[in-house]
Amino acid sequence: MRLKITGGMLVNPAGEKRGRQDILIEDGIIKAIGQNLGDADKVIDAAGKTVFPGFIDLHCHLREPGQEHKEDIASGTRAAAKGGYTAVCCMPNTTPPVDNAAVCALVLEKARRASVKVYPVGAATRGLEGRELTEMGEMAEVGCVAFSDDGKPIADGGMMRAAMRYAATFGRFIMAHEEDTNISGSGVMNEGYHSTALGLPGISRVAEEAMIARDLLLAETENLHVHIQHVSTAGGVRMIRDAKLSGVKVTCETAPHYFSLDDSACTSYDARTKVNPPLRTPDDVEAIRQGLLDGTIDCIATDHAPHHKDEKHIEFSLAASGISGFETAFSLAVNNLTDDADTLARLFSVNPARIIGVKGGVIQEGAPADVTIADMDAAYTLREEDIVSRGKNTPFIGRTLRGVVTHTIVDGRIVYDGGAACR
């Protein structure tokens, strides 16, 4: 099977060939990049479109096993393919959690029939309870790319230090959900004017920043890599920027909603705006944008967190936290962050691949043919019925967004072709 992509603008900051190039794919591998590449069984006309190395999402929730009413690996990866993702890292807070090699193997078994590549992240502590280390060695051997108790912080600093060192033993690292739950308490949105006016308990920025500070110090002292998840505050960006300048081995991500919405979005008590960390202030939104543009924030991860309607169409304080994010991440970045395709490629492809150390993030001869094609100028209005994920919980319904993924190709296989998802 030979697949050819013709006439597109190749954006490839980590590769040698860029610009107007045709790409020939054979048996799942990039065979050639250039002009006049010969015949193919199928040709994608990418004229006027932009061709990226496949997007890689470092943070999503596929909900399987145990929470299939929210999402499963099949539906979640279909949504990921529609969003342009060729690989995703799924968090371990399933039921049961991915805290041993057997559950990890189950996820990978299901993922063999998925639309995109799935890299599981294993739990750092047993049952995500923050008390005992998991068998990280075995999980790494089976296929876990990193470890995290995402959804919860590792509250005990001694346990966090041990988890970082134990993960490093097996060439892995910790992805940290940063929240001091003694500070965040019963909070359900950002603490500030809007939480006061709405009478909702607030979550101070300090809940996140205090834990970021702790983990930066641990990373510095231990000289180990830590990855900070879903950074949402200006103070977090500032501390990470300073730490990077001092040579601390820190990487981090943010999610599209943190540079697209502020806490004024919560004023209708619409639980679709409820997310953890919470939407912050306009100043934070601006700092997140700056952090992404100056390289402090390495990548955009979706934190795709699908929920059932019954868990969202209720009182704000009782609603589940999270936004269904695969299908809008790229267009939100185009609309609210930058038009610059090189920057987008770094944030969606190059840096995520580098952080978890997998093949990808580059289009070059001999590499796996993971490719995302987008029309940067086309626009669409997001409608609930068009969402492929089981989780329709997004505050962006009704928004008209520019930047449309038209094709997603995984190992040379077209998993999304602009119409309905393929499989």
């Binding site: 709405l198 009478g199 009182e315």
Partner: protein
Amino acid sequence: MKLRSKDMLGLYDTTAEEIKLILDSAGTMKQLLAQNAKKMPHLQGKSIVALFYEDSTRTRLSFELAAKFLGATFSNLGVSSSSVKKGETLLDTGKTIAAMETDVIVIRHPLGGAPKFLADNFPGSVINAGDGMHEHPTQALLDMFTMRERFGRLEGLKVSIIGDIYHSRVARSNVWGLTKMGAHVTLCGPQTLMPAAIEQMGVNVTCNLEHALRDADVVMGLRIQRERLQGVFLSTLREYHRYFGIHEDSIRLCEKDVLIMHPGPVNRGVELSSAVMDADNSVINEQVTNGVAVRMALLYLLTRKDDKR
């Protein structure tokens, strides 16, 4: 003039003109009550249901009397606050009540925004009788009615609200209402009980009771919930009373005719000393009387709008 919304969810969404309309109508209702005409036809044929997820004595009774004086059918659906997290959802409860041809739901709920959620999913009117830390609009309306009755105006009045501002829906509703009507509001309490960015609501904020009391026309104490606050937001009640209690010593900073108010129920000797509470310038019982009149006016105005639709 009519109210714009089918619901009364809070004074944040209510205009100065609407507030004036409600207070004026309440004046009429109070006159009728004073004539001992406690059976009027305004709400005949209407069905009102009280849905209280939190305990209440005066607010629920006040709504019940207001509804009955105006000829409505009034029913209580007793629910405990534990059923917020288990059992039937608010959405389903609302649909059930709607299916019984209910015109108005009066709701009290421990979570901010619950009345708004109900109102979005209920065709009739929803009146917020207190939601979490958000709003308690009818309390603020009766407070403003009481002040206006005494001073003849709200504009330019200096109103100091003292105590647990953080948890107080009464404080928030009074701030929105009073500032819209041109009054100057000062909030006073320990910093642990002051919500974030509260000054952006257009009020003065102080931790010094002296500053709050001096020059005040109205001093309103707020209830201190002992169980919830002691040790976490406050040290001892003794110390609270010393620095934030309105008692014989601190009240000397005020003019003699300062109005003493409290939404009740009062912890005697904590927010207010007994002597202050029972003094001539305390209008705490007057507030209760006015509460019935204000709720009659609101029920009338909301259901009247319904008829015109």
